[in-house]
Point group: C2
Chain length 203, copies 2
């Protein structure tokens, strides 16, 4: 039976954080079905301008197997939304894999889901999570970090590499390789590959 | 004054073809403003599931400086839409840069805009354009190809590399470098870099 992936939308989310991973999961017909969810159903404006339709509001969102949380400048406001972070905490119990890209990690940190866990996030704004949620073991140099069901990734394009690693885990390596080749994507398969930690002065 | 970029939507477009480049152009506030356009205004379903809102229909689309055309399985139907290909031919006269990603190139070929020009497209389905539009000089090995105002790219993720090259041309190298670093993207700056031509048996 197909897994249902919920892709979270909020005002001023970052488009590639969301659609990089969805390019991969959305090309697994019969295996993954993508639904979009936001505080309320309807169009949600991205930080880059285009509006994406939320299929469901938080209360009517179907049961999810996978949950994808993008980052973007909108996370600064979204972390203050207790309805949203409570919903994430509630859904964390049911999902098989919870994924964040970029500053989307802050939403899980705010929900308390990463306390005592290893996680990473955008390398350009690393001091914000490090100082705000000190109970998280922030990993400064990593393309992505896996800890239990929580997969967190570095900035924007890192989400694509993480998504392919999740596909390799849930389906198989062959499926992940096929998706990377079909999308002509040079997949960074090594979670420790992270030249941007140095570029942004973290190591 | 800011340039206006029109991002074309049609049923079953490929999400990363569109949102890879928009990640870059959409993060140039004051320099580029992104609008979405489709045959009719309203939600348009992507091949991966999520629906994106078209701000404008073809008749009420504002004057554009840049036009971005994604690919996806929906191009097979879209090439038969004469209203759409006529609109592209008409808008080609006014824009400064016309960009296609993946099989999106087929729409320009069908509009006759690439006759006698060099162009590239998705490497997995290359025989379709080669046999359908033989008046185009199809380049089998290239990440992207520039010919006059027409920039065409290989499959899916190649659009991101092309977009950064266009940014470097329209703004400057520093802006393109900043966007690549901020999005933690390993930019392939060389238009002749194309391992996928070999993977897909084209060379």
């Amino acid at each position: 039976m197909a897994r249902t992936l919920g892709a979270l939308l909020f005002h001023d989310f970052e488009v590639l954080d969301l659609f990089g991973p969805l390019e991969m999961f959305g090309n697994m017909p019969g295996q993954v079905q993508v639904v979009t969810v936001a505080e309320r159903a309807g169009p949600v404006r991205s930080a880059q301008g285009p509006r994406v339709q939320a299929d469901h509001g938080l209360p009517d969102c179907p049961r999810l197997d996978l949950l994808l949380i993008p980052g973007g400048i909108g996370t600064r406001t979204a972390v203050e939304n207790a309805r949203l972070t409570s919903w994430l905490a509630e859904r964390a119990a049911e999902v098989e894999v919870m994924m964040t890209v970029c500053t989307g990690t802050s939403l899980l940190a705010q929900a308390g889901l990463l306390d005592g866990r290893r996680a990473t996030t955008n390398k350009m704004f690393f001091s914000w999570p490090e100082t705000t949620w000190p109970a998280v073991h922030w990993v400064r140099e990593a393309r992505w970090v896996e800890d239990g069901k929580f997969w967190t990734s570095s900035g924007v394009s890192a989400g694509i590499d993480m998504a392919l690693a999740v596909v390799a885990r849930l389906a198989d390596q062959q499926t992940a390789d096929f998706l990377a080749t079909a999308t002509e994507y040079e997949w960074h398969r090594d979670a420790s590959w992270d030249p941007f930690a140095r570029v942004h002065g973290l190591v």
